[in-house]
Symmetry: D2
Subunit: 361 residues, 4 copies
């Protein structure tokens, strides 16, 4: 259970890290949307291992194949199956930890939950699972951009203690893609890259923050009680491996303000009601207000490190372990397209609901 | 849509702030659970307005009536309807803002979404909606405590810049209830109370952080991909009015650590596998690991203040507005039972799922 | 669980036959629909006990009260709570069967499922539960009629061996309401009424068939695989107490035809594609084709009879039982508004989905 | 939408008749169930085209490949992806009907719903879609048999006017598989086979009834209001292509009885409460009572025939059409494993729910 996201645009991912294949079924994509494997591949390539010197060196082409739901280049309205064949799975890298619970990984909790786990490469808990999300997210992004002009851009805001200075209202995709750490603050980007290289040399790892902005989001999206737009975004981002925190708008930082300082005043601009500040992050009472939606996700430092650590094996006996597979010293750059995809999936679902209930968006 | 939480223990709230009544339907509560109106009332009283000098003075008894689903003091397994009659609704306090969009409230977004809104007391967007959640949460807490010994305690961790020093592993309900701000750090509690009184005198408002711990949570709860235990908790807490941020375990604060510093080492204690530190907040790979589940929610300063603010009316014309209803200068103390209830609702749902899939919890 | 119907127009019923109240929450009704308690009452009165000499004599006003979700006569888009207070609950009529499992009732299966049951008046298994469905169905019918001109008419097609001759394409509500058995074939109606009176005198009961037609249903409603329009209708009608069979279009009767005889030829009429015959019952491949949707539901003879029957008590000891409460010798006439309501609930849900996915209906 | 069945054991099918592949994702299968591709293949072979002289001659191996969710021969508890590669898709057989709406097929309704359709071999509306259901159903059957001893047997009860005489309580799988029409009444089976051959010679087609029995179903399965066991079975069977009717227990045939004649008396047998007759079909008030669950599904004669028929093309112009692909003159024998699979999917879902809510089944 729990492998499906969405009510109207339903995304179900499947597959394990070292299984035959990994992918996604998208059920509920509107018909007649033009989509190509190349458009999906663009985002998969941004998520792909081995794309730069600061990411894992696992060699996976991660080539998306659409096996159903698209006909003559257009969506049919019926389920879209996208699969990627696993190629460079070195299961022997994992043989030595077959019976060992890696610290801060999901080995122990999977065993506790299911009484069985695919110990090769983390199995289902591997971040390879996000391939399906990114593929589905690419379709969602296409729909949102084409139908509503929505633009979603994520970027690395913080690595370890290094915090970039970025204006979400003006940043572009080109800015983000201008460096391998995907931080559109060039000076800080360089410092981040150096810090990540240093961590790799140490056999250690680093966390950080991905920030994202969604522009031109129509007002009125989100349910007012349990499926608030920000609640759904929180859930979507927390569902990404290693995410430990979420903020919308002012988030935790807004707590030092009083209500008078924090409130976003309304004003009228060319017949459209807007707010002068955007501490709400584009969402009020769980519903989008037409301003840019701004969210942040905290990613912990990856659990896999090349240093020796204490842990236990499946019989509870104390052992030590040291990472041997190919891993990322910092997942942040590769998390950028995942965050964008998850935001797109949440938004498209609420667009379809709102259109259903009110006849227009 | 979006008024239902849960898949197995389904909670649907209904009602507007100044309507006839407000309440909840719980569908999926296991049969044969002993529950009384008094047990539900205990938590409603902790959420109730007018309970102390630092909360709103609206006078509502908030007396829960169980209208279905309980027979001879036990749950039937069929829907439990709990209602509270609204008593002290002073709709005239709101007459002057009938056509005005209050800053950082949901007036504008409801209008944008639905083309209509109940302007009396915020209607459905009022925090009175949480009555139903607290009532349902009380039932969930009872089930969890009785069946599994789970104990859920929330408390005020921060008000404005004032941060308390609290050990989640040892705190008790009595500690929390020992003062009106529900902060179990007596010195900081006093400073918080004074700061809130000051804000009220200023006609201003303050935000803060509620932290919560759930002890004795069995390992194995939570789905590994989209309905991760922490993702569901994030969604549940973000669904509470005014919540703008969520953390589990180390959260944003953990980002200054490296992986080596951050990882929770496993060890064996009397045959049970445990972690030496709990930066994971009791959840690894989206699944509980048997350690205490620890989460935090950021609540912005309430939007309603007694100061004059700039805004627009429904025609987009600039106007000023000043709060007149009875409101909380700081929602944190009353948010405590709401946070506990939401956590209980998430946990009970995952307990029932896990029991269904594996036959045991 | 299982007390909610629909994905976009979600209807949750609650309440037991002899509890305080009984009713429904509707979540997902589009905003700005004008609806009055009187419009809901019209259908509740058609379902009400004591409405004629051939129905049960339980005296219930069944007055619907809308407690939330409607403001100034219009729906808000948020949950609509409708309740009816139980008045004439004579629980003492049931005292003698407190520990007895009535044949072909749900006493035994509720006990087997939950380990507890409200034995008064059948509790949750009573047909009083359908009050909530009829109330919600009245709202759905209003929406469908107003937005799309859909007209749903059900009527009694068969009682016992007595089968009426009715043309679903031309029948009117007035025809149906012209007699107390709600069979728009006057001669057969009289025979049915006499047969029902006879059954009552015998202390026995009769079953039959309700047929229904939905006209002006737009083409394109229904999902092509699991939530086919006819599959959802089947589920909806089978969910009515005492229903044991379902047919769409030619149903079981079509089996004596060959494919050549059975196929509905397409032709073009004023630019609209139509079928010359309607053996499909307006649904092809699970999706409406624009012709009238025609379905039938078989209702078994009511289990409660005034004759002595053999059964067992909760310890498994053989006992005899004889009905004492006030019951219907034939539920068909009162089932008519229930069938209409259920069809409306299914249709409105598919309308909202289709509008969401394609932007128009 | 609408490609997923179940709440706890969630089955999503994907793929089109002449696409690259077709299959299913099963999410929610309990972990540690032993399952092999061979076990799945057994039922796929019973559904496969070309299996006998009375079925379509399309040559498809229909070889199931498990691509995820099974490890060392056991289910992981995570999504199981099963795919079948389409091999013998002769799309050119369909070229001539690219713009033509075949009578009583789903060509027109798909076009009306989506504005696009895969016209090759019926695309998504083809009965090839049921491959995924049969594969998932095989897993469900294994679980039910192993955990609870449930045995599900379907068989052909009627073809055209030819009705077999079969005792559901004593029939065995071997009886069913003893002839190619899967009717365990040998004399009638022979007449059915001859009648089907005659229909094929005529270029015509025949419908009929599949009956099914599920034995050893535990009591207590099914929800009492909207997700009644029989309502879910009705929906599941109506979701099979060409199904036009459903009955449980006495069904439409029971209407000629009075309540006194129809009621199933309870008695006690070795400490177990049973019914002397089984007109309820094993379900009372929507919940299983421990007797055999008995249902019937009516399948219309297949729409594809080799005779010339009148219809229209996509511009509404009158044309004639004559089938050219390879089709079944009677789908009944191949529907048998589909019916068994659908029943298994419904039962397993209710078993997991019931176990979740009550801790035992």
């Amino acid at each position: 259970m729990g492998n499906t996201l969405g009510r109207m645009f339903k995304v179900t991912t499947w597959g394990e890290s070292h299984g035959d294949a990994i992918g996604v079924v998208v059920d509920g994509c509107p018909p007649l949307l033009e989509i190509t494997e190349a458009e999906i591949q663009y985002d998969l390539d941004r998520r792909r291992p081995g794309q730069s010197e600061i990411s894992t060196q696992r060699k996976e082409g991660d080539k998306a194949e659409i096996l159903s739901g698209v006909f003559d280049g257009k969506t049919l309205g019926t389920p879209i199956l996208i699969g990627v064949w696993n190629e460079d799975a070195r299961s022997k890298d994992y043989e030595h930890m077959r019976d060992i619970f890696r610290p801060s990984h999901a080995d122990f909790t999977y065993q506790a939950k299911y009484g069985i786990r695919n110990w090769k490469g983390g199995g289902r808990s591997s971040a390879r699972e996000t391939i399906g999300r990114v593929a589905a997210g690419a379709i969602a992004k296409k729909f949102l951009a084409q139908e509503l002009g929505v633009e979603i851009i994520a970027y690395v805001k913080q690595v370890w203690r290094l915090v970039a200075d970025i204006d979400p209202e003006t940043i572009s995709v080109a800015d983000v893609e201008s460096n391998i750490v995907r931080c559109p603050d060039p000076d800080m980007a360089e410092r981040m890259i150096n810090r990540i290289k240093e961590a790799r040399k140490d056999g250690d790892s680093l966390g950080g923050v991905v920030e994202a902005v969604a522009r031109n989001v129509p007002s009125g999206l989100g349910e007012p009680v349990f499926e608030k737009l920000d609640a759904d975004l929180a859930s979507a981002l927390l569902s990404i491996p290693a995410c430990k925190g979420f903020e919308v708008g002012s988030g935790f930082g807004g707590l030092i303000m009083t209500g008078y300082e924090h409130n976003d005043s309304f004003y009228s601009e060319k017949g459209r009601i807007r707010t002068r500040t955007n501490r709400s992050g584009g969402i009020q009472g769980g519903i989008s207000n037409g301003e840019s939606v701004i969210v942040r996700a905290a990613f912990k430092p990856p659990a896999t490190i090349m240093k020796e650590q204490e842990t236990v094996n499946s019989e509870g006996r104390a052992v030590t372990i040291k990472g041997r597979g190919r891993h990322d010293p910092c997942v942040l750059p590769r998390a950028v397209p995942i965050v964008e995809g998850m935001i797109a999936l949440v938004l498209v679902d609420h667009v379809l609901r709102q259109r259903g209930h009110t006849g227009s968006v």
